[in-house]
């Protein structure tokens, strides 16, 4: 019998540590001039440098440094006047040099923080997440394990290597130990990644697509008895590819740890893989014998020493904080706090904003994203942004409703069609023959038919019992396959029966 979450938090205090990797959106790679566009044919975006060919040397991408400084400043970090790259040595086929050029004891940004707000039982509450460091490194290539059942290296017949990703600039943002979140640990973790993502998007330094891996989160979780000082053993969960998964992974690991601890078993310090379908984690590489990466300063690169002038220039060009932006939106849209929180929680704020920019009124845009679309996303257990409906579709649908071309009910059919991949709204309306029946004579024919079928009901209405009209309206709607405007039908019907 699985432990309930309430049981876990009654006894234990969760401690978090979050490591977020962000692929920077620079045009070229970290140490060479190769293109970074996602999805190119394998090994077409490579050169002697990112392939690690003998004799090749790295040259730091200045843009990547500026982006990293911007991230550090946005996260309230100090920018080191002097920082160095280091080599992290280990053998793996997708790493061309068998060392990763990273930063070790001299990162470029240190000691920052990020405040996040979540809804608690006592209303909105702010948590401060302290940032230990922000450093630069290069991404590895990608291994594709062919044959075998799991797609993992074990049991594969052979592996294919794609080095397009090798050398793409990565920034790693590492928090200090996060305590004091209590039962809200999963929500805080999620809010942190969400807020971080908004900041990065606002900075324009990354496309922050968790599904494509341009933003990846490793969640370190440990438990200790409430009141205890000593930290428990942590697990590090990787492969957490959505905000929702961040929350689920943390919660899941808390329960798993508690179950072990309750049985007086040991939590193993290891890397675990999160599975989107089950919400559970499975063990990866054990870190019991800490791997020795033999870090040493990268002799092929000179230290990074940004001038104060550069740092101040970047600081001056930082965009407004997401929290400020949200406040502005809330005021412009006249949305109550609760609705605003709901949009943030459902991760549809950006979508609503885009939809409004495309001409939809904020209330309708919000109600679609937060209502029908969020409902379907929830059903499918994906983020609204991952559905095939976009803000342009919603803006178009809203416009049709305003013009009277669609009823809410018909619009729902269109939304469903877009999400099912049947096409864009216009195509679906065309294909499905969706049309509001507003022709009075057609409606009148249907009304008369309904009255003829239910004369007793019609009589009741004539006698002044207006609520009875519902049955007749229903029949008309059925007759017109839902394409009539129900209000209009009601108006015509009541008038016809002498009640209008």
């Amino acid at each position: 019998m699985a432990l309930s979450y309430d049981d876990v938090i009654a006894k234990y205090e969760p401690v978090l540590g979050l490591e977020v990797h962000v692929e920077l959106g620079t045009e070229s790679k970290m140490f060479c001039g190769c293109n970074t566009v996602f999805g190119a044919a394998p090994n077409t975006q490579t050169c002697p440098v990112c392939l690690g060919l003998p004799g090749s040397l790295p040259v730091v991408n200045a843009k990547a440094i500026e982006y990293t400084i911007a991230i550090g400043l946005a996260l309230n970090c100090s920018i080191a006047p002097y920082s160095r790259f280091a080599r992290k040595n280990y053998f793996y086929p997708d790493m061309p040099k068998n060392f990763q050029t990273s930063q070790y004891d001299e990162p470029i940004c240190v000691n920052g923080y990020l405040d996040v707000t979540i809804e608690t039982d006592e209303g909105p509450k702010e948590f401060r997440i302290e940032i230990e460091r922000v450093h630069m490194e290069e991404d590895t290539g990608k291994s594709l394990h062919m044959g075998g059942a799991t797609g993992r290296i074990h049991g594969a017949d052979y592996s294919l290597l794609d080095y397009n990703r090798a050398g793409i600039p990565l920034v790693e943002i590492v928090t200090k130990v996060v305590t004091g979140t209590g039962k809200y640990a999963p929500e805080v973790a999620r809010a942190y990644v969400s807020e971080l993502r908004d900041i990065l998007r606002g900075l324009g330094v990354s496309d922050v697509k968790m599904e494509q891996g341009s933003l990846r989160c490793d969640a370190n979780v440990s438990l200790r008895l409430i009141g205890a000082d000593k930290l428990g053993t942590r697990s590090e969960t990787k492969n957490v590819n959505s905000l929702r998964s961040v929350e689920r992974a943390v919660r899941g690991e808390m329960i798993r740890h508690a179950e072990l601890l309750n049985k007086s078993e040991r939590v193993i310090q290891e890397t675990r893989h999160f599975h989107e379908d089950t919400g559970l984690t499975t063990p990866g590489r054990s870190k019991e014998q800490a791997e020795d990466y033999r870090y040493f300063p990268e002799p092929d690169l000179v230290p990074v020493a940004p001038t104060n002038e550069l740092i101040e220039k970047i600081r001056a060009s930082l965009p407004e904080k997401p929290s400020v932006r949200r406040k502005k939106l809330q005021e412009a849209w006249q949305v109550p706090d609760k609705e605003m929180a709901a949009m943030i929680n459902a991760d549809v704020l950006d979508l609503v904003e885009e939809t409004v920019k495309l001409g939809a009124d904020p209330t309708r845009a919000r109600s679609w994203w937060l209502g029908e679309i969020a409902r379907i996303a929830n059903e499918k257990a994906v983020a609204a942004s991952e559905l095939s409906i976009n803000s342009k579709d919603v803006a178009e649908i809203v416009a049709l409703i305003v013009q009277g071309e669609l009823t809410d009910k018909l619009a729902r059919q269109v939304v469903e069609g877009v999400i099912n991949g049947e096409g864009r709204p216009a195509e679906i309306i065309e294909k499905r023959g969706i049309k509001v029946v507003s022709d009075d004579s057609a409606l009148m024919a249907a009304i008369e038919k309904a009255i003829a079928a239910q004369p007793d009901v019609a009589e009741k209405v004539r006698g002044g019992h207006v609520p009875a009209a519902g049955a007749l309206i229903g029949a008309v709607m059925k007759e017109t396959k839902g394409q009539a405007d129900a209000a209009k039908v009601r108006e015509l019907l009541l008038k016809h029966l002498g009640q209008g």
Partner: protein, 494 residues
């Protein structure tokens, strides 16, 4: 013609007395004649060299301006990549690999119309002082085929001494240009670190490696230095300053009033008496030319060898990790990637390379890092300070290049420490990143073999070495009445 200096060849080319094709062919003929004895080359690019020579001849014929060394042939150490030409670094590991790109040195050689004859032999991945560590067999010293030509760049120096090429490129991590120059009676220069691009130089120890010119005269080395030197944006450690005016310095050769510092720690015990005698004679000559000789002390030099054998192996353990059979080079064994990597590295690397990889892996390990790599870096700083202090008292510093003349092939093969001690006088400059040059000081009285005189200058003051080198060279030429290499026995007679 092949016995002339590169500058003389260049003059003859420019005067139309000879074509580059003729000159190149003469050297290819010499290689065909003597290289079975010397084994300086791992690859001779006959067709490519002639094609390059023809292109230069045509350019010259059409009246286009060509650079000073255009049309002069050169031998390239096999550690620098040249597009499409096999590059092995003297290792089995890279057998058959043809790089898809040119190193910056090669690009500049090509831009200057310098004809690349082929790739020269070397200790595997430049690790060694005798060229015996080449996976393709040793190179023989043209002065005595039973002796080593120095290392790691023994192929380049032997090619010069055997008149297979008037110019060569070497690389120097702890003395691999200078010590071979010393034991073959040729000139070798390790420029200031960052003075010549490392892009395309297969790394042994990144913070120490430096490519440089090898030649038979100081002026030739200077011409080549200017051709290959200068800033390269592909190498982050390259210095963004103009190349010191080394050709002008070599032509000048006036050392009147210069202060020459003799490093106390780089003589005495362990140095062959004949080598020391030649060194002292050279000092007298320099003094007679108007230089002031002073003695300086660099007390931390005693730790240089130890620091070097921690830093260089540490960096090499990381630099050589990429040789894993996944992308290029040989591939041995089957099974998982890990099994193939293991099997390939076992077969692909020779003993000395493995020794240094293991040493470096250990030195960088957590728990040992501070004691080994960390301490070595501190020593490095102290050695730099020693140099700074010494350069406060002298314009250049001097020492014998190597403690002995060429030893016999096989003599030190099983004694790595004895082998390492050969670089005792050359290593400090690499640790400090400054320039060093070796010029012949004569033939040692006990064995009749050449010895080298080392000149060191502060960073980016390479011109000073050329001035002193040229002065000594000219004085010795006058004294001997003929170039030292005229004493090399005839080769390929059989």
């Amino acid at each position: 013609m092949i016995k002339k200096s590169a500058a003389e060849m260049a003059a003859a080319l420019s005067a139309g007395e000879v074509t580059s094709v003729e000159l190149t062919q003469a050297h290819l003929d010499q290689i065909a004649k003597v290289d079975s004895d010397v084994h300086a080359f791992l690859h001779v690019d006959n067709d490519g060299a002639i094609a390059q020579a023809r292109a230069v001849d045509e350019k010259r014929k059409s009246g286009e301006r060509v650079s000073p060394l255009a049309g002069v042939p050169l031998a390239l150490k096999d550690v620098l990549v040249q597009k499409g030409i096999p590059t092995t670094c003297g290792s089995k590991m890279l057998e058959g690999w043809r790089p898809p790109y040119d190193s910056t040195v090669v690009t500049r050689l090509k831009e200057n119309g310098i004809v690349i004859l082929g790739k020269t032999n070397m200790d595997e991945f430049a690790m060694g002082s005798s060229t015996e560590n080449s996976a393709y067999g040793p190179t023989h010293n043209p002065w005595d085929l039973s002796r080593i030509p120095g290392g790691s760049g023994g192929g380049s120096s032997a090619a010069l001494a055997a008149f297979e090429a008037p110019l060569a490129i070497g690389t120097d991590t702890g003395g691999s240009i200078r010590q071979p120059a010393a034991v073959t009676g040729t000139v070798g220069v390790k420029p200031t670190y960052g003075g010549v691009s490392r892009y395309g130089l297969v790394a042994f120890s990144s913070s120490l490696d430096q490519a440089g010119p090898c030649a038979r005269t100081v002026l030739d080395a200077a011409y080549l230095h200017e051709a290959i030197g200068g800033y390269d944006r592909m190498d982050s450690t390259s210095i963004n300053e103009p190349v010191p005016a080394v050709v002008a310095a070599a032509k000048d050769g006036n050392i009147k009033g210069m202060k020459i510092g003799v490093i106390k720690e780089l003589q005495g015990d362990g140095y062959q008496p004949g080598v020391l005698k030649l060194f002292n004679q050279s000092l007298e000559i320099l003094a007679s030319l108007g230089a002031e000789i002073v003695e300086v002390s660099c007390k931390y030099f005693d730790y240089a060898l130890a620091a070097y054998y921690l830093i260089a192996p540490s960096e090499c353990s990381s630099n050589l990790a990429r040789f894993d059979a996944m992308r290029y080079g040989i591939r041995v064994g089957e099974g998982s990637a890990e099994e193939v990597m293991n099997a390939t590295r076992q077969v692909g690397f020779g003993r000395e390379v493995k020794r240094r990889i293991i040493l470096g892996t250990y030195a960088l390990s957590s728990g040992y890092y501070d004691a080994y790599y960390g301490s070595a870096q501190k020593v490095r700083t102290l050695i730099s300070r020693d140099f700074d202090n010494a350069f406060g008292k002298a314009d250049v510093l001097v020492s014998p290049t190597a403690p002995t003349t060429a030893f016999k092939i096989g003599e030190k093969a099983n004694d790595p420490i004895a082998m390492y001690l050969n670089d005792i006088a050359t290593i400090p400059t690499n640790l400090a990143g400054i320039g060093g040059m070796s010029v012949p000081s004569g033939l040692a009285e006990e064995d009749g073999l050449p010895a080298g005189f080392q000149i060191m200058a502060p960073a980016m003051k390479d011109d000073r070495m050329y001035k002193v080198g040229a002065a000594l060279e000219a004085a010795l030429l006058t004294k001997w009445g003929k170039p030292i290499l005229d004493n090399v026995p005839a080769l390929g007679a059989k």
